[in-house]
Symmetry: C3
């Protein structure tokens, strides 16, 4: 199993768990839970595959992926009882899934011959779109653009770091490892200490309340 395949499977599983936790909080039935888990686990990679014209889609070419997500969803009632104790750790599957998908997206795009900037963009889209879909399905405002958690920004930084390490001939598995650790650490730190980038403001004009 190559590192990318292993990372992808892990990303699917932790993203599905994150989706289940989102959906259960909303009181959904088992089919709703499965739908949200499916969307969070496969949404980002589906956009990536469509944008890069990769066929078949990764969850059609690996048909055990949706089966795994379905089984986890069926068992979610039982799993949740055990997950309760680790609930303070909840941001972890979200951050880990985002990191793993961001780097697989960057890697696949880069292999397909896109330029570095486009590869990073595809990585960020792959890493964040599942979460945006999950928020939409749960009727929450997408949290992507709320400044504090810096979701896309952490992925953006980690994807550049990964490409930079590859550029300096670091072996892929180390570049992936460093990228994952940095993205997850940045994201958890951003949540823990409530980091945010400043809002963009007009420079060189007096303040005035526009529309």
């Amino acid at each position: 199993m190559t590192p990318l395949i292993f990372i992808e499977l892990t990303a699917v599983i932790v993203s599905a768990i994150y989706g289940i936790l989102l959906a259960v909080r909303k009181g959904m039935d088992v089919m709703g839970v499965f739908t949200v888990a499916f969307a969070v686990a496969f949404g980002g990679g589906t956009l990536r595959d469509l944008f890069l014209d990769r066929t078949p889609l990764f969850w059609i070419g690996n048909p055990h992926y949706p089966v795994i997500v379905f089984v986890i969803s069926l068992l979610s009632g039982f799993l949740l009882g055990h997950l309760r104790r680790i609930r303070p750790l909840l941001p972890l599957p979200d951050a880990l899934g985002m990191a793993l998908f961001t780097l697989t997206g960057t890697a696949y795009a880069s292999e397909a011959g896109t330029g570095a900037f486009v590869a990073v963009m595809l990585g960020v889209i792959t890493g964040t779109f599942g979460g945006v879909l999950g928020d939409l399905l749960c009727n929450e405002l997408p949290s992507l653009f709320v400044p504090s958690p810096l979701n896309a920004t952490c992925g953006f930084a980690g994807a550049w770091l990964y490409l930079g390490l590859l550029h300096f001939s670091v072996p892929e598995r180390y570049a992936l490892g460093v990228g994952i650790v940095v993205i997850v650490a940045l994201r958890l730190a951003a949540i823990r200490w409530n980091w945010s980038l400043p809002a963009v403001r007009e420079k060189g004009g007096r303040d005035h309340s526009g529309t």
Copy 2:
């Protein structure tokens, strides 16, 4: 005309009618009505064709489909006067469109050689995505995951039944017919008697209100 083509055309027409009824209720103009009808009629099949890499998209390869939806939309003011009497039957076009699209999606995916589980998932996506788009465009909360109408669940059951009948060598047109009747009946019964699946709850833990 093969059964699948006939079913697809019927699904487009009943979905467009359902979209028109959604849009008129919101006081939209004729272009808004057409847009919602277009999205409901073609949204699910478009995702299916993109996911399976079928080209051209079914409404580009059958360019009379969008023209039919446009003409129905232009006539919607007149049609509505006559539809008024059958308004209590409104859930029917919704349920029928969902059933027909679910089975065409399952059939196309199965023909394309996906496994059974992926074929059922593509059927459910094809059957439900148009309605989700219609809800979004009409600024309603998507009704897919509200437990009571069991929308995706009925399609999921019917798609497995259809594949099961094919597996036991039932001719396709009978398998399609049984699938359609079962999905529509399940869905109308779920609405009529307000069936729902239970919400997923944590097993083995005391109740506590977390966020």
Copy 3:
């Protein structure tokens, strides 16, 4: 540079500026501003390329496009100070981007051999989807279907005019020029004088408030 390429680049830039103005109004940070600018500038054309199976996507095949949008986003704080004086002209980038994308979408679809009606539909989708995405990301109700600004309707009329001029052997650059001027003029006039199409109402029935 062919006229279509020049028009596409202009459409990307004015759409990005419109996206930046949307995002800044919401107090987003620079990554959020970039994301909205990216979605508004590339959303419609991405759908068009996916629907027509054009590969690579126009912003992957022209990798300087996303870089340009990124640079404009980074500079947005400074640009906004200078844009302040022309704020009463804000509807212009929106109308211009919509017009340019509508005509490129119609032209590409027509070149790909779709029928005229499908080409016009793809033009309207290309012209309007970016704005819908921008509204969604900024948590606004999509303005596409609010009757007053007639957004899709102006694009629909201009796309037919463009195809009609080509049909009567008008050279493409003149047909594009006339189409752009007409769409922008219609859209600005619709905003200025608050034009709207009437809501669709049931004909031949007494009024009654149903749900």
